[in-house]
Symmetry: C2
Subunit: 411 residues, 2 copies
């Protein structure tokens, strides 16, 4: 008799964004004439830029011609694209070989699947609050116990709050795998060199591995802040970096990203290169064991994103969203709300009105201002009492949303 | 200290196709003037058809326009595409709800990741010989013991050989998960209704689940043979079907496929719908826990594949490859080789010359006829003594290859 993976039973309720969708749907059904403004899910709204469209079109056209048609590419990704990514890292004085770069179909699956190469008894640490994939994939893979009092047993939570500026510090106890999301989703907080160095030092000392999700790195405009974990000395010995074209090039639906697994990464004694070899076996080489590569069309698009023109165009898109973030932050601050993030990340982290929890504040924003937010409690215990507002929206709607919040939000 | 998933250590040597690539590269380096004809990897060579290119182009163009731009789609897949797939199944009198269809980025990852929803102690049965992903993902997920005498301990091998026409029969012992690849890769064998019914009966009796990989189903031309496991009565209670646009629409590089997880599937007592719920949690809904959906561009292309014109065009492509298979089969039979498959599948399964094992015959074909095959032993113990020739090639090259084999293969 086949049986089920009982770890799934430990997962809590519906997935955050499904629950939001449900509540919005309910409201809309009861209020068909009210216009809803969605600043909930972190989903891009600006179209792909001209250069990127051109790249994608050329990718498609190649496939329609027998002379230029290609089937399977290397599972690890197109060499030109990996070269372009290597150059991209060189801008920050980071040297990566093509072997160390793995093209994926977006950061999420890699963030989850990377656990496949580690021992199931490894202790995982996550920031709290944080994007749910790290926690949920730890649960599914059996690296946690049950959910008790808002926390999974066996999982180590690195608390982020107003006191530490929502940037986690390394755990006091020993852990094996540390997920960092930087800039953080949902708080928009970004770690300094010093703060990241503390994690690298911890990881090297404890032979732990850092999984560094930097999907929002291109939103960092402050030149004093690191965009890549590899800007920290020693990080190649202990850190895997996972990134994506989703948020800064509008690829949320196109699906493309990359992971860096350095050859120098060493966890168990004398096992240098072994982490790389295992990921390579799973995802890389000419054909991966469990993966056949990302779409060749999407890869053509990503190559165009990394071209000088593509970079220039997408900087404008980033500026557009960051201007939205500024508008949200400024307006909500003005009406007395406590607001964080939104400076080097497209997320604004808003403290709920007194005596309201996240879902209550979510409902209030929805019902009174008709603005969809994301309840902070969906990202962990420490997110309770906050909501996340996303800057991924049309500017007109962002302006409408803040006006509506100003006008309609009763205290 | 982080540790590695030690199951990876059990995996055998390099992945089959990497080893082939290496040997071919060596030969080419030593013989730069000899033209090599590749009938090894099952990789499509014909360009995408006009209608499909048109679909893909329109998918790209939509993303370049603010009015038509979309970000994240449903992780489970575009509703139009799932509708089209539901209609596709109706042609064979199979009723599937949209909820039961999950769009993926090609069959391979789903064939591997589907194991995530089952208990790690579940016993897995695989055909021998068979495409390596089922075995390797069973190893990585800890469902096997060590590799001893050509077999993984704990894995049940369903032997396929000349006697049973290379079609497996249900195991005598109790197993929990049964992988079937039908048409079979590498043998090209296809099961009859009766042969599949034996598996469905077995699965229902033992509450086992069948993972039915039908990536080559569209190559079945014999109307008496089932293309889908759901043509067998009762299959919805016990079978998951995984399919792909890779092989019949040239999507090996574009990456798109689908999985069917029926709501009626029931394994543990009283757990009807639970398998569907778990896969849905992992991959489906508005956003999956470990998956954010397949590329929206590729989905537009797939939708075009399923249009009447797309179907018509791709039938011609299938006929082209199957004509290649016929040429290979006929010619090699003529020179006295024993040849199987190639009638309802794009693979021809060739028995090695007497006293040669698979790799020796591979080397002989490479060095004497300059034709790249795939050694049957790479697909399991029972594949020893055979090689697979792929019909995915330009007809000119196929003709050259068989001429060269005829002329140069010394006995």
């Amino acid at each position: 008799m086949a049986t089920l993976n009982k770890n799934y039973n430990k997962l809590q309720g519906a997935y955050l964004f499904s629950e939001i969708t449900k509540r919005v749907k309910n409201f809309v059904e009861k209020n068909p004439n009210i216009e809803i403004i969605k600043l909930g899910i972190g989903d891009t709204t600006e179209p792909l830029t001209k250069t990127v469209v051109k790249g994608l079109l050329s990718g498609v056209k190649k496939l329609g011609n027998k002379k230029t048609y290609t089937g399977y590419g290397e599972a690890q990704g197109d060499v030109r694209l990996r070269n372009a990514l290597s150059d991209f890292y060189k801008e920050r004085n980071i040297d990566l070989s093509l072997q160390e770069i793995f093209i994926n179909d977006g950061a999420k699956a890699d963030c989850a699947n990377i656990q496949s190469i580690f021992g199931v008894d490894n202790v995982v640490a996550v920031a709290d609050p944080v994007y749910p994939v790290y926690v949920d994939s730890s649960v599914i893979s059996g690296r946690t116990g049950d959910f008790v009092n808002g926390k999974y047993e066996g999982l180590v939570y690195m608390e982020c709050n107003e006191k530490n500026g929502f940037v986690p510090t390394p755990p006091l106890q020993k852990v094996d795998i540390i997920y960092l999301c930087n800039p953080n989703n949902p708080t928009g907080a970004v770690a300094t060199f010093e703060q990241l160095k503390a994690f690298v030092d911890y990881a090297i000392k404890n032979k732990a591995v850092i999984i560094f999700d930097s999907a929002y790195a291109e939103y960092i405009s402050d030149p004093s802040l690191p965009k890549s974990i590899y800007e920290i000395e020693g990080a190649k010995k202990c850190a895997i970096e996972i990134n994506s074209f989703s948020k800064w090039a509008g690829f949320t639906g196109v699906r493309l990203g990359w992971s860096v697994v350095p050859l120098d990464l060493e966890i168990e004694d004398g096992q240098k290169g072994k982490v790389h070899a295992l990921w390579s076996r799973r995802q890389g080489g000419s054909q991966g064991t469990m993966y056949n590569g990302a779409s060749n069309i999407a890869q053509e698009g990503a190559f165009a994103v990394l071209s000088p023109l593509g970079r220039k165009e997408n900087k404008k898109v980033i500026a557009y969203y960051m201007d939205n973030a500024k508008i949200i932050k400024k307006s909500l601050t003005k009406i007395g709300l406590k607001v964080f993030g939104g400076e080097n990340a497209p997320y604004v982290w808003v403290k709920a009105l007194p005596n309201l929890n996240s879902w209550q504040f979510f409902d209030k924003l929805l019902m009174e201002a008709h603005v969809v937010s994301t309840p902070g409690s969906g990202f962990g215990l420490q997110g309770e009492g906050y909501v996340r507002l996303s800057a991924f929206a049309d500017k007109k709607n962002v302006k409408k949303a803040v006006e509506s919040i100003k006008k309609n939000l009763s205290r």
